[in-house]
Symmetry: C2
Subunit: 408 residues, 2 copies
């Protein structure tokens, strides 16, 4: 921790050009050292295969030359973004002549607990290095060799830019005790848990360091009676089938009673070849004989699979009430051509992102133009939605005086 | 809580004009009902006197016609500030035509635990009402009658503006169990503890709702060798004597060795008539025979009294190291005419506010032009320094599409 603190201090005081130089050096190293990284990745994949890891999970773990070159391109994009540090919000001069300004500075030392995708080492550290923060990473045990290889490259990249290598660190082992340790690590300025709901809940409730909650997305699509039904079906399929395992995927479909006879068969036609299983309320099942019964549990669940909960609602008010009760504050969408209904949905839904006639799948740092993301915050304090460079800064007020005092 | 939630929803959707109308109505009521409020305040004062409350504490509890009219003027100032809600950070259009914008929205229901000053009911609720949040207040037991009277006025003011009265609530009794209850109140979006270090630490560590830490200020003044020594003495006296009981008061003086013979006698001359007690290191005591020995505890303590810790340092580096080790991240000041030293101090000190040739006492929502404050955050996440209207908002991303999908 003391090394991380010292490294962070040096990084924070380094000009943006030097921090960008480290990102560009890392981009070059990812290309130059592709074979070395992939050798470590193959060892991870072999071990994971022996442990019985299945198809999609192996896919997440796998690095390819194409993935590495995309990560390199991502680094170059982040390097091109404006420097998040030093930016002021506009100077003010008080009546007594004191000049004050709120300026953006790094948070400090950030901990990140993440799952099996080693690319996170590149993307997250790109943001922390660029924003003058040190990062302590703890990845999934199945990716530890890949992660170590990538962190070694970061250390070389930082060194070649004249910056302290300890600004990017990986915990030495993936033993559970390190998660425990990070939750109570004195001096850690922020801990971001990414992964399953179990891990996130544990960290949020037990940690004594500041935490930002990420990820759980019980996202809804509300199809209003004035919707373009083909558009609605298209958005539904994108949200449910595009990548069901991610937090911005759709979990529940809410359909206006007035159009249930038209829309439900269309939804079924659109999704059944993808293997989507409908969990419907009674009215839904009366129209779709293939739907299985939905229970209370279905409304609350983030399936992360090809399951879809379906409920018929009376109109906007009932849709809003359902979302307020079961939504996780991540991403919510409405399809309608009715101006008043669309605006009311945008105004009333309390979530990180609210979509009118578009897919919830856009809630993502790359899509939002942040260059990358360290996670998607589902809390309201500090950051909400995809967290990019600005979410990794705090502010300080600086004041230039000529001896001003207040009470004398 | 459910009433607060419902009230908050209505308040959030009300236009700024109506929220301002409630603030102006409250300002009028404070003037019209001065006598009624003061009658309740007198009952609090009598009871507090019987409980043996001392001078300064009675002073904090006391309301006067002058104080009430200042509070009314403060409400009118807050009403004139720009609406913090609905403000967007600039619309972006993605390559696919999707239009997204990050807009400011209320946090929701906010809890505030505060001490004996009943004016907080007026100031804090001015900010929460203006920013579309509901507030649940829990004040000190000695001010409960005054607080009840003021909350009753808020309810009338809200009602007269056509807004829900439950947007400003006071817990029915000051029993300790309500602090406990607020720390675990499901649905509370933010809890702000104001008061002693014991209360704040307890809430920060035990609460399961989101908390913003306020207040502890172990503030330093570093007098560099190139300082205008008279200016330094003036700033020192303002910081130590102006109001020693507040968090932005000075606690420790750091003096360059090169000027100790000149500055220490001047500091002593400047402060001794005010009754300031110097706690000095060995070098200080060699020059000031009246100083008592400083121990490790003195460097870490927020005295909140007419005590001052004094340490001789070798120069900037030692001053920065001392502040990094003992500072609470509130407010720090340097006095110097050396450009490089001043800039390095502003850059290197990690605190909510950093002053060059000015008093730390300016760290305050009114002074900073926020109209008022709900507290001074000493944490880095969400808000840092005085918290005004913007600190009571979060963001949501709204997106206007024409059927955009991501993967299809």
């Amino acid at each position: 921790m003391s090394q991380a603190k010292a490294a962070q201090k040096a990084l924070a005081l380094a000009p943006g050009r030097e921090r960008n130089r480290a990102l560009l050096a890392m981009a070059d190293l990812l290309v130059e050292e592709t074979e070395a990284v992939m050798a470590e990745n193959r060892r991870d994949l072999e071990a994971a295969g022996q442990e019985g890891l299945s198809g999609p999970l192996l896919k997440r773990l796998e690095l390819t030359p194409k993935k590495l070159s995309e990560l390199a391109e991502g680094l170059r994009q982040v390097a091109r973004l404006p420097d998040p540090l030093g930016r002021g919000e506009g100077r003010r001069q008080l009546d007594n002549g004191l000049k004050i300004e709120v300026v953006h500075v790094p948070l400090g030392v950030i901990g990140l607990i993440f799952e099996s995708r080693p690319g996170v080492v590149v993307e997250a550290a790109a943001l922390t290095v660029k924003s003058g923060n040190a990062v302590i990473l703890r990845g999934g045990h199945e990716a530890q060799r890949s992660n170590q290889a990538l962190v070694q490259l970061w250390r070389r990249a930082l060194g070649s830019a004249g910056l302290p290598e300890d600004a990017v660190q990986l915990v030495p082992s993936t033993d559970r005790q390190y998660v425990e340790g990070m939750m109570h690590l004195r001096g850690l300025d922020l801990l971001i848990p990414r992964g399953g709901a179990g891990l996130i809940n544990r960290v949020v409730h037990e940690a004594t360091v500041p935490v930002i909650e990420t990820g759980v997305g019980n996202c809804h699509l509300y199809v209003h009676r004035a919707a373009d039904l083909n558009m609605a079906a298209h958005i539904l399929r994108d949200g449910k089938v595009g990548n069901p395992a991610v937090c911005n995927a759709l979990e529940t479909l809410l359909v206006d009673r007035a159009i249930k006879e038209q829309f439900l068969p269309l939804a079924w036609e659109t999704l059944r070849e993808d293997g989507v299983v409908f969990h419907g309320d009674e009215e839904t099942r009366a129209l779709l004989s293939d739907a299985i019964p939905a229970t209370e549990k279905d409304w609350a669940e983030e399936y992360l699979s090809l399951d879809l909960a379906v409920k018929i609602v009376d109109g906007l008010e009932e849709a809003l009430a359902h979302i307020a009760r079961y939504g996780s504050g991540h991403s919510e969408a409405v399809v309608t051509n009715d101006y008043a209904v669309g605006q009311a949905f945008l105004d009333s839904v309390d979530a990180a992102a609210v979509y009118w006639n578009a897919s919830t799948r856009f809630t993502d740092g790359f899509q939002f133009g942040l260059g990358a993301e360290v996670g998607i915050s589902t809390q309201k304090l500090h950051a909400r939605g995809p967290m990019g460079l600005e979410a990794l800064t705090t502010v300080k007020t600086i004041a230039y005086g000529q001896g001003q005092t207040r009470d004398l």
